[in-house]
Symmetry: C2
């Protein structure tokens, strides 16, 4: 599948591109084409140094949607509404939300979902009715994606209501070496997937660990 | 420390007793002394078959509180209020809540916390002001505790506001072979610790895994 990463010039978007580009055609989207193209060049250089050939193309966010069959919303929660209101043509496409509504209150991180109950359910409301939404990749830290020396031996929980879309997302996850996809159920469980991220951030902070990830066993 | 397990005849309570009794003095509490004593005998036999000597004593829940320095509330969420209203003498003691407010709605499990925000915060409200509450052990399945062939290679997130109590609980966790304690922050993060449990149940259900546990890395 052709992968499009909206907000692909951010840390997590670039990290995902690095991990997926050796195996898939990846388009990195940004508000500005030039920024996306600089990011692509960086990705290609990093991968070439490791002897990995790849295909990464830089485009605007809208061109990224137009090109891709599977669109990853690698954007902060605060940009979710405006981004989905701007983008056209998501009808029938697989859309993946790794978005986590998190706030830092005092010394710790909290899960602060919108009234819809989760970022996933908010995205559902804003997307075309036939967009095939999955929530996934919420719990893998940006730095881990980017650090190609990290074996990335994590589990990735996926939830959603479209079984075929979920299977495609699971295959995408399984195509990244060591990442293990797991089905967590319908889209209604998105709050549970998203709220694991502030727990990981808190464990990192209070147990002095960096970029904590998770494995289910 | 002297460990008291309230509701110790339930699956998770008995499992905890089995894992802790080789290293600590453990009292199993129940509404009826006889039930607790039958459970203790079972524990001792299981451990003796493995060549492990142990000390497990069966008492009522109230006697268990009176005896123990650290009290584990191994009870279902629905009994949390009535149990804490009945028990006396928890002043100054370390109290550990592994309680998860979970409901099954249709095919999946949801986190359904009380108005206080979490079982931990509800317990805080009901306990004496100087009880030293920690939330821990929420995410290890009862069957895993009980199956002594399971290496129990899991992480256990601990949260609470009393640093010394939290350290004692971490030491208790670390005394069980392979279990790894991690500090997740203040008691305010209890919703994040508790809501991981329905996620694990959903992953178990939808990914066909049994008694899913978690490791942070």
């Amino acid at each position: 599948v052709r992968i499009g990463i909206i907000g692909g010039t951010g840390g997590i978007g670039e990290g995902m591109a690095l991990r997926m580009a050796p195996f898939h055609t990846v388009v990195i989207g940004s508000r500005e084409t030039e920024k996306a193209q600089v990011c692509c060049k960086e990705c290609e250089e990093i991968l070439m140094q490791r002897g990995l050939s790849c295909s990464v193309i830089g485009k605007t966010n809208q061109e990224t949607v137009d090109f891709a069959e599977l669109v990853i919303l690698a954007i902060p929660f605060k940009f979710l509404v405006s981004t989905l209101q701007e983008l056209k043509g998501l009808e029938g496409k697989i859309v993946v939300s790794p978005v986590n509504p998190i706030e830092k209150t005092g010394t710790f991180f909290s899960y602060v979902p919108p009234p819809e109950g989760s970022a996933g359910l908010l995205a559902k409301k804003l997307l075309p009715a036939d967009a095939r939404l999955c929530v996934a990749f919420n719990n893998v830290a940006a730095n881990r994606w980017r650090d190609l020396d990290d074996p990335l031996e994590y589990s990735v929980a996926v939830c959603g209501d479209d079984e075929a879309a979920k299977e495609t997302v699971r295959q995408l996850i399984a195509s990244v070496p060591h990442l293990k996809p797991l089905d967590a159920g319908p889209l209604a469980v998105a709050p549970l997937v998203e709220s694991l991220t502030p727990l990981l951030l808190n464990i990192g902070r209070f147990s002095r660990m960096k970029d904590v990830g998770v494995r289910y066993l």
